[in-house]
């Protein structure tokens, strides 16, 4: 039973290391240049630069390579040096995560790349402690990971399933992954920068423009302004032998931009 438990730790650690490696290489951390807050206070420039070093892509790739190598080594060999290196790596990670929780409560640990962007919580620290414990337990495991996989005992499967469930429960990254799958991050239309060229392109492709295009008297708009999700473009026009204004309200959203239009009778005093 003890041996089965130790063997299952090897598999667990290999799986976690390979998953962390894959996440670091595939999921980038969001907008490294965006400054942070600590408890709502803007981070001073010095600390922000340190954060930038930690977020450096080269460092992330290096860490991922190390984790990948350790994970593969755990699978193919039962040499004590590999187990020791894994234990030291997880102990160091536990220390780093604990320090981050105290000193940078705003910053994520980056354990699983961009998925670990939220602040380090108790769950992340507990998870790192448990992994360190698993690494210590794996020191005496007789088999390499692949050997365990070749002949999976029911006890190993059970222990592994329970540990993976615990790992999932302690991982805030899963919620982030689900959220990312659900909605791609995009600025809300109210504060999305929308260039004028995009507005005109949307307008000229719209059915509303097609309906009024022949009535528009001048290609130069009378006024162009924006309020929230709409940019308003006003053209002088002539409809039924009357001078009118056509107001187009063009969406500033990133996708599915629509256009609304209305015909307004100009007021001489107000027409600017």
């Amino acid at each position: 039973m003890v041996t089965a438990f130790q063997n299952s730790q090897v598999l667990l650690l290999a799986a976690v290391l390979l998953a962390a490696c894959a996440a670091k290489l595939t999921v980038r951390e969001p907008a490294a240049e965006a400054p942070d807050h600590v408890h709502g206070v803007p981070v001073p420039a010095g600390l922000a630069r340190l954060t930038a070093v930690r977020r450096n892509r080269g460092m992330t790739v290096g860490l991922a390579a190390g984790e990948g190598l350790l994970g593969l080594a755990l699978l193919v060999t039962s040499h004590l040096s590999v187990r020791l290196a894994t234990t030291v790596a997880f102990a160091a990670a536990t220390w780093v995560v604990g320090e981050l929780r105290v000193r940078r409560p705003d910053a994520g640990c980056g354990c699983f790349g961009g998925l670990s962007g939220k602040k380090v919580g108790r769950r992340s620290v507990l998870r790192a402690v448990l992994f360190t414990g698993a690494a210590v337990a794996s020191l005496g495991a007789p088999l390499a990971g692949l050997d365990v996989l070749r002949d999976v005992q029911s006890q190993v499967g059970l222990v592994l399933a329970v540990e993976l469930a615990l790992f999932a429960a302690l991982s805030p990254e899963l919620a982030e992954l689900v959220e990312r799958r659900r909605a791609p991050a995009e600025p809300p239309c109210e504060r999305r920068r929308s260039p004028l060229a995009e507005t005109y392109a949307t307008l000229h492709e719209s059915a509303e423009w097609a309906a009024y295009e022949n009535a528009v008297a001048s290609a130069v708009p009378l006024d162009v302004w924006r309020e929230g999700c709409r940019r308003f473009v006003v053209f002088a026009a002539r409809v039924d032998d009357r001078d009118v204004e056509i107001v187009f309200a063009v969406s500033t959203a990133g996708q599915d931009r629509d256009v609304r239009a209305a015909v307004v009778t100009p007021e001489p005093a107000a027409a600017v």
Binding site: P30, A31, A34, P35, D36, H37, G40, V41, P42, V43, P44, A45, A48, A185, E186, P187, P188, E190, R191, S194, P195, L196, T199, P221, D223, V224, W225, R226, E227, G228, C229, R230, R231, F232, V233, V234, E245, V247, A249, T252, D258, R260, A261, A262, V263, V264, E267, A269, A270, A271, V272
Partner: protein, 335 residues
């Protein structure tokens, strides 16, 4: 405070927008703003103050309770002809002769508070001399050289410990022949350099009501029409914004010059709809709080002209009030 300024372009924009989206909803129930007037002193006596305001002469009754500020508590001697003043009237005031003009009709108005030649300098420190600080107040407002006399320096340093180029400064000043002379700090200095502003994430949702601090800008008798400087004015087309304005530390929706915003003084409960009259690119750099009535959320969400600020119950010499701002955005109904 007079009704919101409705210049031709703002009116035209509201009319055109209403043609597409319908009329905007009114203000939620709130205390109405007080009346305030900015003008130039024509004559002053213990019982009467005459101002030139809006091209006409306006008279206010003065009483023993009328507070006069001129770099501190001042007396009648501060009301010299030719000086610019902001006058806030007593609520429901009755007792003197109004002659219409900016007060909108005949009536009787009693001055409650008078601020004489009050100014404010807020922006990025460019250079520091022995007793002067040169400040960049943003693209619209240019530069100012503030004199900080020794007796004010200690007060300023308490709340602005980093009087160094690159940091922000915000001081309440009084006019003097040498230019604005600092009297007291307007707010506490943010601890970061002006170019190290912490912006919210690009994907942060825009709240329906923005909460933070409201301050004032400009001076009595300034050129700017009454209204607000809003930190996120669109820079495309004729919207009136500045291209290089920082995004601010609150997720602001983009608006334009002429757009209406509802500003509520959370300390006094007064609220008013004011038009955006300027791009508040300087306000966007300040990620500070107001502590007039509890600590406000961080973020300078609006700068008001002195008349609008005083009308909402703000004390110009205090510098800020805790505020909520509701931008009047088009309501997206079915089409």
């Amino acid at each position: 405070m007079p009704s919101p300024l409705r210049d031709a372009r703002s009116d035209a924009r509201r009319r055109r927008r209403a043609a597409v989206f319908g009329a905007p909803p009114g203000l939620p129930a709130a205390e109405p703003p007080l009346r305030a007037v900015g003008g130039i002193v024509l004559d002053a006596s213990p019982h009467l103050l005459a101002l030139a305001a809006g091209g006409t002469e306006v008279r206010f009754a003065m009483s023993g309770d009328t507070g006069i500020w001129h770099g501190g508590r001042g007396g009648l001697a501060a009301l010299r002809p030719g000086r610019p003043v902001i006058v806030r009237l007593k609520e429901g005031g009755a007792g003197a002769e109004g002659t219409g003009g900016p007060l909108g009709g005949r009536g009787v108005f009693v001055a409650d508070r008078v601020w004489v030649d009050i100014r404010r300098v807020a922006g990025t420190i460019l250079a520091c001399g022995r007793d002067t600080v040169e400040v960049d107040m943003g693209a619209h407002r240019g530069r100012a050289r503030v004199v900080i006399p020794p007796h004010a320096l200690q007060r300023v340093l308490v709340r602005h410990p980093r009087l160094e180029p690159g940091y922000l400064i915000d001081v309440i000043c009084v006019g003097s022949p040498d230019g604005p002379r600092a009297v007291r700090p307007g707010t506490s200095q943010p601890g970061y350099r002006a170019d190290d502003l912490a912006a919210p994430e690009a994907t942060a949702p825009v709240p329906g009501v923005l909460r933070g601090t409201a301050t004032w800008f400009g001076e009595a008798g300034g050129e700017t029409p009454d209204g607000a400087a809003y930190p996120a004015v669109d820079s495309e087309g004729a919207a009136g914004g500045c291209a290089d304005a920082p995004s601010g530390c609150v997720p602001f929706p983009y608006l334009s010059v002429g757009s209406l915003i509802s500003v509520r003084n959370e300390c006094g409960g007064r609220a008013a709809a004011v038009p955006v009259v300027e791009c508040g690119c300087t306000a966007a750099r300040f990620c500070d709080r107001c502590v007039e009535c509890g600590a406000s959320p961080r973020g300078r969400i609006v700068e008001l002209t002195p008349v609008a600020f005083a009308g909402l119950g703000g004390e110009l010499d205090a510098g800020c009030f805790n505020a909520s701002v509701r931008p009047d955005l088009p309501v997206e109904g079915p089409w």
